[in-house]
């Protein structure tokens, strides 16, 4: 758990939970233009809080409305705290706007609870949304996901119940781009291996013929140039990297020029030229096993594969083979399928693999911002207002 020293500091602490002097400003222009909501049975308050982040400058522009006590809409969550539950600090944020019902409470009193629940807050893919659950919640209006990926949700099925789905694209972009860069640098410079050598009780000297590969001036191929991919490109540019990208659609010329990115209409061209290949796509039927034996074979033998999208975008068996046979130099994965991998999986034992436990958005700041973005989405949906980040089935 990321901890910090408590309140005896005189300096401002970068965004910590439970700090009452810290707050963020949220104001959605569309909600502002509607003024106060027209429901007469409840009292609404517009709430503004001042922006005072000393670390992290991203803000979510949404309006927040606090309803009168006793009339708070009910939101279903898996749990508060524990191994998979909503973090306590996030629960506190949610409680300002909603009445929280845990899965346990719901199952313990289904008849009374089922009609109350208007929204579900999905945190770290839980609770699982299945047909049975949807059938039991007649007044469910929206499922708000914490995070941008919604591959764990059956969008068609949910839509068939007239329920909206929302995600949090703004909160995730910076921290996920950061983890992409972190993995690329760590893999290139053999940081994990090096740390183990430096700390090992058996180390007597540092060998001079122990080398990594260079990031500066190398070629980075970004597969999937959405918001996150673009932020990766912005960062990579500062390392003088040559940037290639493959995307369903080519980006505007100005966007390309701003980061010096060259479009590769054919993914093969990108694979053949890149020293680092970074996967930043969402998981869809089209991107499932996008990188398989053929694609790995096209990559340079000195190349590194970095995955910050979803584990299933890579054919994992093909990856194991490619790494074992030195078809590619190394891989760095924030995501695998499943998570965690079975403890006897070959990927866990390869020296040229770095795996992180899906921490693309695991920062104090991002977790909070995702909750705030989800809250804004839920409030908009429940108040029949334009929803900032709605996701539609294809």
């Amino acid at each position: 758990m990321f901890r910090s020293k408590a309140s005896s500091l005189s300096t401002v602490i970068p965004l910590m939970f439970g700090q009452s002097n810290l707050a963020c400003k949220f104001f959605h222009p569309v909600i502002a233009s509607h003024g106060l909501c027209c429901h007469r049975s409840v009292i609404y308050k517009q709430r503004y809080r001042m922006h005072q982040l000393s670390a992290g400058r991203r803000t979510i522009n949404t309006g927040t409305k606090v309803m009168a006590e006793g009339e708070l809409p009910s939101v279903l969550i898996l749990d508060i705290g524990g191994t998979h539950g909503v973090l306590e600090d996030l629960a506190a944020l949610l409680k300002k706007h909603f009445h929280l019902i845990t899965m346990k409470e719901f199952l313990g009193n289904k008849e009374e609870m089922r009609k109350k629940i208007q929204s579900i807050f999905v945190f770290e893919c839980r609770p699982t949304i299945d047909r049975e659950l949807l059938e039991s919640l007649p007044n469910l209006k929206v499922i708000a996901n914490s995070g941008v990926g919604v591959d764990h949700l059956d969008l068609k099925m949910i839509s068939s119940f007239g329920v909206k789905v929302t995600n949090t694209p703004h909160a995730v972009a910076d921290p996920t781009a950061d983890i992409g860069m972190a993995l690329m640098l760590a893999s290139a410079r053999r940081l994990v291996e090096g740390c183990l050598i430096a700390l090992s009780p058996d180390t007597k000297y540092f060998a001079v013929d122990w080398l990594g590969v260079e990031v500066t001036r190398a070629t980075l191929g970004i597969i999937g140039m959405g918001s996150i991919g673009y932020k990766v490109a912005q960062r990579a540019r500062a390392f003088n990297m040559r940037i290639l990208y493959h995307n369903r659609n080519q980006r505007r010329k100005e966007d390309e020029e701003a980061v010096g990115a060259h479009y590769c209409a054919k993914m093969e061209d990108l694979l053949q030229q890149s020293d680092f290949v970074m996967l930043v796509v969402n998981l869809t039927p089209e991107t499932h096993k996008l990188i398989g034996k053929k694609e790995l074979g096209l990559m340079k033998p000195t190349a590194t594969l970095i995955n910050i999208s979803r584990g299933a975008v890579i054919d994992q068996d093909a990856l194991v083979e490619a790494l074992q046979n030195k078809v590619i130099r190394a891989a760095a994965l924030d995501v695998t399928y499943p998570e965690p991998l079975p403890r006897d999986h070959p990927l866990l034992n390869l020296s040229n693999v770095i795996i992180t436990p899906h921490i693309g958005t695991a920062t104090v700041q991002a977790i909070r911002m995702m909750a705030e973005e989800a809250i804004a989405n839920m409030l908009a949906a429940l108040n029949d207002q334009p929803i900032p980040s709605e996701v539609f089935p294809k």
């Binding site: 990321f2 910090s4 300096t11 670390a55 770290e124 640098l185 960062r235 390392f239 795996i355 921490i359």
Partner: protein, 268 residues
């Protein structure tokens, strides 16, 4: 050209875990006749007059007065790398021997390493990897968090070539950049990376989420970061050192860390 006509250059050894790379022999031998320390010691009388240069590779060979006295035709000591704290510059100068280093080629890779360490530390990458591969891991806990680099404040202590390259990279992460240097940089250089000068190191230490040391090791920077400086830093801050170990007072680092658990994010 016959090999006898190429200038004689002394190196410590070739190959093995500490020697000059065998891959490099190709281009070195085109220009120089390489003599290893072993060969020199076996044939001192003949070779000591021939040796015109010493190629110092990873701080070897160590150069002492005895060696300098016997190599009376030595003109230059060329050190690979930019740091020269392992060389006694005054001593070499007193023998009329020039010293050279390699400042240009090291700057980007060292800056890359600084960024790698900052990102790895803040996102707990090594810990995360160990959790992901550990045989005991059953699930990934949801309350396992790091701190964000994007938008945070980076304080660079020592804004030379390497420090400046770090600033260029950090700017792309929208970091707020403070720097402390013997001299303030030119305005254009500062604006290009959005760096703010802190004349007093204390100001930098108090405001930074990440403090990165990129200074050369000199008597002035020896133990530059000690107990006082560490205590001025935020308890949530991370210290990154890509300069020389002696720039921080390791003893005090450890003392402070154990004394007050709130320093657990301190990366040594």
């Amino acid at each position: 050209m016959e090999s006898q006509e190429l200038p004689y250059v002394l190196v410590d050894c070739i190959g093995g875990r500490l020697g000059v790379y065998e891959d490099h022999l190709g281009f070195l031998k085109k220009r120089f006749h390489l003599i290893t320390m072993k060969e020199y010691l076996e044939n001192k009388t003949f070779l000591s007059k021939k040796i015109r240069a010493i190629y110092v590779w990873y701080h070897k060979p160590a150069i002492n007065e005895e060696l300098l006295q016997s190599l009376n035709n030595l003109k230059v000591v060329a050190s690979a790398g930019v740091g020269i704290d392992h060389l006694d510059l005054k001593l070499l100068s007193s023998y009329g021997v020039k010293v050279s280093n390699t400042p240009f080629v090291v700057s980007t890779d060292t800056a890359d390493m600084g960024m790698a360490l900052m990102l790895a530390s803040s996102r707990r990458l090594v810990e995360g990897h160990e959790m992901a591969v550990s045989p005991d891991t059953e699930y990934f806990p949801v309350d396992w968090l790091g701190a964000e680099v994007s938008g945070a404040t980076l304080g660079i202590v020592g804004m030379g070539k390497i420090g400046y390259k770090v600033a260029e990279r950090a700017k792309a992460f929208e970091m707020k950049i403070l720097y402390h240097n013997r001299n303030q940089r030119k305005k254009e250089e500062e604006s290009a990376v959005g760096a703010i000068y802190c004349k007093k190191i204390d100001d930098l230490l108090q405001q930074s989420d990440f403090v990165l040391l990129a200074a050369t090791l000199t008597p002035q920077t020896h133990k530059l970061i000690g107990k006082r400086e560490l205590e001025l830093m935020k308890p949530t801050a991370t210290l990154i050192n890509i300069s020389r170990g002696k720039v921080q007072n390791k003893q005090n680092c450890i003392k402070v860390w154990w004394h007050d658990k709130s320093w657990e994010n301190l990366q040594l």
